[in-house]
Structures are given as C-alpha cells and as structure tokens.
Symmetry: D2
Subunit: 297 residues, 4 copies
Amino acid sequence: MKRTDLAMEARELWQERGSGALPPGARETRRQEAGGAVECLEITDRAAAEALGKPEGKYVTIFPEAFLRREEGAFEAAAALLGSLLRSLLGLSAGDSVLVAGLGNEAITPDSLGPRTLRHVLATRHLVASLPETFGAFRRVSVLETGVLGNTGMESAEIILAVAERLKPDAVIAVDALAARRLGRICRTVQLTDTGIIPGSGVGNARRELSRKTLGVPVVGMGVPTVVDAATLAADLTELSGQGETRPEDFGEYGAGMMVTPREIDGQMSMMARLLGYGIDLALHDLGVDDVTALIG
Amino acid sequence: MKRTDLAMEARELWQERGSGALPPGARETRRQEAGGAVECLEITDRAAAEALGKPEGKYVTIFPEAFLRREEGAFEAAAALLGSLLRSLLGLSAGDSVLVAGLGNEAITPDSLGPRTLRHVLATRHLVASLPETFGAFRRVSVLETGVLGNTGMESAEIILAVAERLKPDAVIAVDALAARRLGRICRTVQLTDTGIIPGSGVGNARRELSRKTLGVPVVGMGVPTVVDAATLAADLTELSGQGETRPEDFGEYGAGMMVTPREIDGQMSMMARLLGYGIDLALHDLGVDDVTALIG
Amino acid sequence: MKRTDLAMEARELWQERGSGALPPGARETRRQEAGGAVECLEITDRAAAEALGKPEGKYVTIFPEAFLRREEGAFEAAAALLGSLLRSLLGLSAGDSVLVAGLGNEAITPDSLGPRTLRHVLATRHLVASLPETFGAFRRVSVLETGVLGNTGMESAEIILAVAERLKPDAVIAVDALAARRLGRICRTVQLTDTGIIPGSGVGNARRELSRKTLGVPVVGMGVPTVVDAATLAADLTELSGQGETRPEDFGEYGAGMMVTPREIDGQMSMMARLLGYGIDLALHDLGVDDVTALIG
Amino acid sequence: MKRTDLAMEARELWQERGSGALPPGARETRRQEAGGAVECLEITDRAAAEALGKPEGKYVTIFPEAFLRREEGAFEAAAALLGSLLRSLLGLSAGDSVLVAGLGNEAITPDSLGPRTLRHVLATRHLVASLPETFGAFRRVSVLETGVLGNTGMESAEIILAVAERLKPDAVIAVDALAARRLGRICRTVQLTDTGIIPGSGVGNARRELSRKTLGVPVVGMGVPTVVDAATLAADLTELSGQGETRPEDFGEYGAGMMVTPREIDGQMSMMARLLGYGIDLALHDLGVDDVTALIG
C-alpha cells in the first residue's frame, strides 16, 4: 500500500480509485486565511474512516505559501493562523495545563521535527508556580522530548503516557514528522488533527496510540511531511513517467527501510520547526511573536 | 556552609573541625585495586549522618589514577572496577530490569555528565523482547535523559518517578555532576552511593529525592565532581593563601550563582562520561569493553 | 596581574592605582542611546597604551540594559545600536566584502560565543555572485568558524590569515569570548574595538594578533565577557570581604587553568550571541531585524 | 545519466552497456584481507578514463563485511586494513605533515561523514611542536572542517586551498560522503582514491577539484556511499521491477534535489565515521587502536 500520514493524500488516493466524490461520512472545506490556505477534512462515521484509512476526527491542513516564499510579515501571519487553529482543536480553558511532546530522532534530519520544534516552545509550568506575579496569566506548559526506542529502550508513547499519568495535563500536543506520498508536499504543509498520533506510524513502525481514548484528554497531533517512502516514490514515479501502474509491493524488498528526502532538508526543517513552535506558544498563551522571541531568546 | 556533594569531603570537613577521628557510626576503608584506589565510607546511624551531613548508607569513591594518566589498558581496568562496584551496590538478579537516568544540562559543559554518560549506555529493553535469541541473556535496560527544569517545566525527579512508576524497574541508576570543595578533585574521582540522589543538590537548588525510600527499589547515585561553588572556592583560597579563616557567607551575594570549572573541562568530561557509561554496561551485562564498543559503535 | 580583556576594566584598574584621572593620551565619553548606554575609550598615544595595558585605538562598550531585562522592542533597539557602531568602526563602502570569524570552543559553554554568533550571521558571498538580481545590493559576507587548537592543530589566527590571504576581504570581524575581572560584568556588555583581537588572550594563552597591522584591512574585535579567571576572582573577593589586598599571584598554582562562570551561562550566551549576530547583519546590509529573521529562518 | 561517485559502479555501468570486459587502459584486481575484501581499479590512460567517466588514477574499494556484522575484533582488523591502504596511497615519509579535511554538512545526516570522521582524528601539529618529548615521533596532522557553502559563503575547496597554501602540508586527505547508484551499497564500502576529490560532486553540485594537480602534493579522497539520487533510484527500480529500461532523465524535474537514504542512517554513519577516523590515525602514526582510543578519549 502507498504509505502516507497525510489526510489530504488519503482522500486523494480514495478519489483516484473511485468516482472523485468523498464518502458520505466525510466532509471537506477549504478557505483562504491571512496566514495561508486551510483545508479541513472531517470524518464523522466508521464507514468513511475505513474508506479513507484514517480514524474519525478532524484533520486540518495549512498551506503557508507566503511564509515558504519568505515574504515579509508572513511568519507572523502563519504562526498566528496555526496558533488559532490549534487553540480551537484543543478547546482549552484559562488555567489549563498542557503537555507538549516532541517525537523523533534529532540525529536524523527528516525525523527531527519533534525535538527541533521543542526548542521554540516555552516551558512555563515551573514559572507559573514560582513566579506567579509575572507568569500567573500563562498556561502551565511542560515540554517532553521522548527520544527514540533504539536509544531509550522505551516507546515514545510509553514515556508520554507515564508522564501524563503523573502530571495529569488537561491536553496533550504531540509533534512528529510525517510521511507523504508525493515529494512536492515535503515541508510545504502542516497537519493538525484531534485524533492524536500513532508514534512511528509515518516510518513503518507503528507503536501505541496517543489519543483521547488512551489519555483521557484532548490529544492533538501536529506534523509536517518530511519524507517519502522509497517504494511509494518508485510506484508514483513509474506511473508519472508513463510506465503504467505499479504498486510499492512490486519492488519487493528493494527500497525497504529507505526514505526519500530533499537535499535542502536541514533548512526546511528549521523553518517549519520554528513555525510549529511559535504556533504552539501563540495557541497556549496570550502572546505575540515578539513576546515569544523575547522570552525564548 | 561549604558546599560539597562528595562524601570524602564531608568527612574531611568534619575531621578539620574536630579531633580527626570519625564519629562512632561511621567507618572507612581504603584499598588498592587494578583499576584504581577505592575508598568506602559507611554511615550506619543517625548521629553519624548528622555529624557528617550525609544520609545513612554506603559511599564508594574510586580514584582511577592510571586512566587519568591515559596509561595503556587503564580504561579497561577502571571500567571493570567501576562495573563491579556498581553491580555489588545494585544487588541485581538475572533477568532484572534497570532504569538508567542521566540528569543535568547538556548545554552547560560541567553539568553535562548525565546526558554524556547515556551516550555510552546500551538500551536493551526493547531488544530483549524483540530479539530474545540474541539478547535473551541481557538485563532489560531503559535509558532516560531527564532534561532540565528550565527547558521542560518538570523536575528531573518527577520525570524519573513517572517513568519508574510505569516501568517498575528492579533498580535505578541516576548519573549527575557533583560539586566539590577543592579544585584539585574536579574530574579526578567517581562517587557511587546507595543513598540515591537529590537532583540539583550539587548546584544549590535541591529538588526531590530519588532513593529507595521514594522509589521502592535500590537507587544508586553515580557522579563525578565537575564544579566548585565560587564562594566555597574563595573561602578555601583565602585560607590557603594565609589570609585567615573565612566562610563562604563572608562573601555575601558576591559569587552567588557562580561556578568554577577547569578550562579543559570538555575533554575531561568526555573521558569521565565514557568511563561511567562503560562501567554501567559492564555492571548490567556479562560483557567486556570490546563487546560494548562493538554494540554501541 | 589581574586578567581582563575589557578596556573599561583596564581603565578602572589604572584609576584604582592612581589619582582617578585618565592618562593624557586617553579620552573617554559616555552617552545614552535608544539601545543602551555607550562608553567610548580612545587611546591615542603609546604612553596611554602602556599605562592602560591596551593597544592604541578605539574601544566601544555597549550596555544593553533594556534588552537584558527582556523589555519589549529592546532587542531591535540594541541590535540597531550595535549595528550602527560596528558599521562606523568598519568604515565600509558599498560592494565591500567582509570576513566574519567566530573563535572559541563550541563545546565549552562560556567559550562558545564565536560559534554561536555565527549561527545568526548571513553568509552572502555565494549569493551575491549566483543570484545578483536578489542579492546584488548585499555586501559579500564569508563566515569562518576557526575551531580550537586542540581539535585542529592550527591557531585560530593562522586559519583566519590563510583564508583572508586568499579571499582578500575589505574588512574582518572577529568574535570571541572575553575574560572580565568582575563577576557582575559577565554577559552584561558588548565590547567593540578597532584594534582587532589576540585570539585566546582572554583565557591565558595569547596567540598571534589579528589586526590591521597583520591583515592590512580594518579588523574589528567583538566580544562579550563570559568568564572570570579564578585567581583574579579570588583576589577581588578577598579585598571585597575586607581581608586586605591580595594579588592573583598570591594564590600560586591554585586555581590556575580554572574559570568562573554563571550557572545560567547557557541562556545568557544564547541571548548575547543572537544580539551580536543580528548586530553584524544590520551593520553589513541594509536590513531590519525582521528581514534577517526571514532570511535566516 | 545515472549518478554515482563509486568507481566500482562506474565500471559496472560500463560493463552493463558493453561486452563485460574492461577497456584496455583499466585493470582490476580483487583480494581478501583480514579486514575485508579489497577491490583495486587502476585507470592508466585517457581513453579508459573517458570510457569509465573517472579520472586516471587508483581507486581502492574496501568491503569490511565482518565489521558491518559487528564481529569481535573486526573493527581493529578493518581499521588496520584501511590504515595500511591509505598509508600506501599517500606515500608518506617520516616527519611529513598532513592536512585532513572533512567536507559536508553535519546537520544533514547522510552528508555528515566528513565532520563526523574528524571527531576521531588526532590533531597533532601543535603537540609535535610543543611537546616533542612525547609527540616527536608523530606526524604533524592538522584537521579542517570546511563547513558548507550555504553557511560559509565559501566553497569547501577554496578553504582547503587557502589553508594548504599557508600550511604547505606534504599530503592532503579529504573525507566526504558519496552518492551510489544502488541502495544495497549504502554504508557498506569505503572508497580511497589518489585522484583527490571534487567536493559536492556526489550530490549534484560539482565544485572545484582538489587533487595533486591543484595542490601540488598527494591528495587522497576518502568516502563512503551514503545516498542514492532519487531519479537514479527510480530508473534502477523500474528496470528491476521488469518495467523496461528507463533513464533518470525520464522522470524530468520530479525527484530533482531529492536523495534516498536508509532510515537507520544515523547509526550506520557513526560506525563508518569511526572506522574512517581510526583508519586515518593508524595510517599517519605508529599506533594501535587502543592507543588512539586512549589519546582521543
């Protein structure tokens, strides 16, 4: 099967196979905002979930075009848009506490979205307690870098569950790199979803689920496509080059465990990680971009 | 008061104030091993604990002199000695699982002992489960880097407690940088103790305790002195220079929040972190130094 | 002798020893700007240079108080002030090329000012050549991280000289961490000087000089005090505590090779490195802070 | 054209197009050594160079199979083999000085071979001068990390040329990641060549040449295949899957600027970088693996 973590590609694959219409239990809207275009796919029943291969819930995709062209003021607009969409998915109240988890491997560039995003996220939980006069109006934010199984011996989900059980946050945000089907989507969009996250699902090694079901509070998954599975790429390339239809399975073991990523991935990851980090800060506190910069340094 | 995390300095301070003898409830032995000299201080009652300012328990100090002079074969001997002392403090059985936690701030060189040590520790918990034919004889080891309060919003001890509650390990090893009183001790010794660890105690900000009392299983604290408190240094310097006796308090606020550390600290930390990491691996598995190198790469 | 790289402390030491007046060949001015107070010490003859222990030239010290208090808009004001003072010292023309060198050891937190600053400096030399329509109005900037002798086998000055001989830049900026005499000055000021830089002078191992004399073009040294020499600290502490006057030499070998630095050094270095990097970008190009952020990402 | 930096693949492509025989001016030998198989391709005239698309000279490929299987003692054997082959290509005399350059981008995992290798290379130039009693028998080694054009504004070759002009080394070793045609070769072989290196050639952006011609002394290029060009992969995949023959050009712009690399690339890079670094140390000094470990720490 063609590997993708993107709801918009799952929808696209379904449409390519069929009539072009969405299943009845799925609804899509698209609108243009100051910070970029926003596509929202809502899956409201089990039949649609099975048809599209994605759990029931909301999937919001942001296309921050002006920011990607490095236009003036575009970072502020994209971060504000992201913050507002994230805040709305989280459904927070004043005084809530939030656990922000970054998944992935800092040492592998396209898998480093989680750890890199965390560098831009304000940890405030200890400050709200110790400096209430300054930070009393902030939400209490804890920041957790999960590391990766090979280095820790623990699934990312296990660590997040352990910490969440102890801290009992009112919401969880989990940031991870995603796999796309098309190269042209890499580092071009941000996906938010209230269905949570299945760590490692994007790179072929699905682990435990992090969701409202397993954690008991809203869990928003936040990601950016950073790699394409090599066999998925090959299948798509073959079709595109007019060689007829192939499936990733046709390539057998060849390409297994391989990922395709742009040569410019490092700079693109820096841009997207900063956007996600600021988006989280703007969602969780009443701050502007300049305030965040002053606090993070 | 003069700040130190070293049991041998606590004993020394007590002896400087008094007759030179140890209190009745404390006992000290010293012996020479292939990997270095070993001093063991045992505190067996509350009176001795109060006299020395250290909780009841065992404190083992290793002086890996040949290793520090980079003599041939000395790394292997020092790592083997450390492994054997650590194994004996942990009192492990076959099949036990162990959580190894590294505390401290990787971005501050003398505070990076914990994270740096972890780079040399084999995480095996997932391998024992998934590759029993190869790793069946290994103990299950999980590796946790706690990060620091300013970046995470969570005390190191909180994260370790959370993970330990979920994983229920049979023992915990906590690695952290220590504060010494004398510059000449920096990066010259390793201290092991079965009293656990009070994270951050070495740098003036004591947090919650990690010990058999709080975790219910053996907790060994493992550390290396890497800094001297600036006011402690000043007090000692003044005495040494024949200016009469002073106390750190005499310097008031001046020097508060300051640490003294060698200019060569980076290389010294690398050496000690590698020694500690290998010592942990040798304690937890039936491996030699070369096996660990082949597995870690 | 008390170790300091700060012109303002050299002046202060001279004044403590004497009448309080400056030598005739030295002149000092102080003014308040939007971005902070600015002190300018000019040494115009050899007698004053010898009296103060600093080469003839200009020394500009900036006190970015509002920025250090993280006030709103203060980063922009401090970076603009730094950029304008630096531009004036460099005396650049349109189309000039500049080599920006960062000295020091990234692995030792208080010695990492140079490498950290470079992360915020735009390298444009290749872009001016390859994308003249977009970057034609930029000065050609090359960015060189020298590494440290222990890792490279080469003095920082040797590498800079080698690259400067080949690139023939119109000016050189050399960024390095400085040693102060007083703890209270650490990470509180920025010093600019048209006398260039003597790499490593701040930490006791003077190497070759980088100056207009050795390079043939303007060389501006740029630094922030990040450490105090342990023996200098001890001498100052002793006086301050009313123990009478001492000299660093009184402490003999004790404390040699040791440095004193704040526990919060990592965060302070991040702030100052960002300020210096942006200051350099604003000095070299007609850009605002937001433009630099958009370009660096 | 199918992209490869590997002489063995250039030979293979030539053989696939023709009769299977090598051109007259090329000669190949293969032998088994303790550290692995060694293939040596020698190109001795211009016609063979043009036929194979590689400059005249020697290309040595090492297959360190036992090391890759992490067999006991295999690291030592592979490092010794690499050291001996490298020493023979360099043709060094006692007392010679050598510049070791690492190219590539540390922030992009498969491009980080150069910088990572340097971590294991002993810089001795300053020690031979300052501690002749200990290091008098060592060759003088300088270590240069070139950085990448986007961060420095300077081609890697420019920086190496600048430093070589000043230091006048007797030989240069340049380490860089290579592009392969087949996924199965990634991180499985080491290539040494006395034809030097064309920085960036492996990833589509050929820069200036580093060779005996441009530097006047022996220049050995040393590399490991770490990526496959996405279009090359697609062309090979299509053939392999029986879809007929395609060329990378058939995929047009699609896949341009994309690279394919294993998900396990980080660990594989660590292994190979360590092997290369130790190989260099063993080639340049009369040391064993344990000596190097003791000196590097």
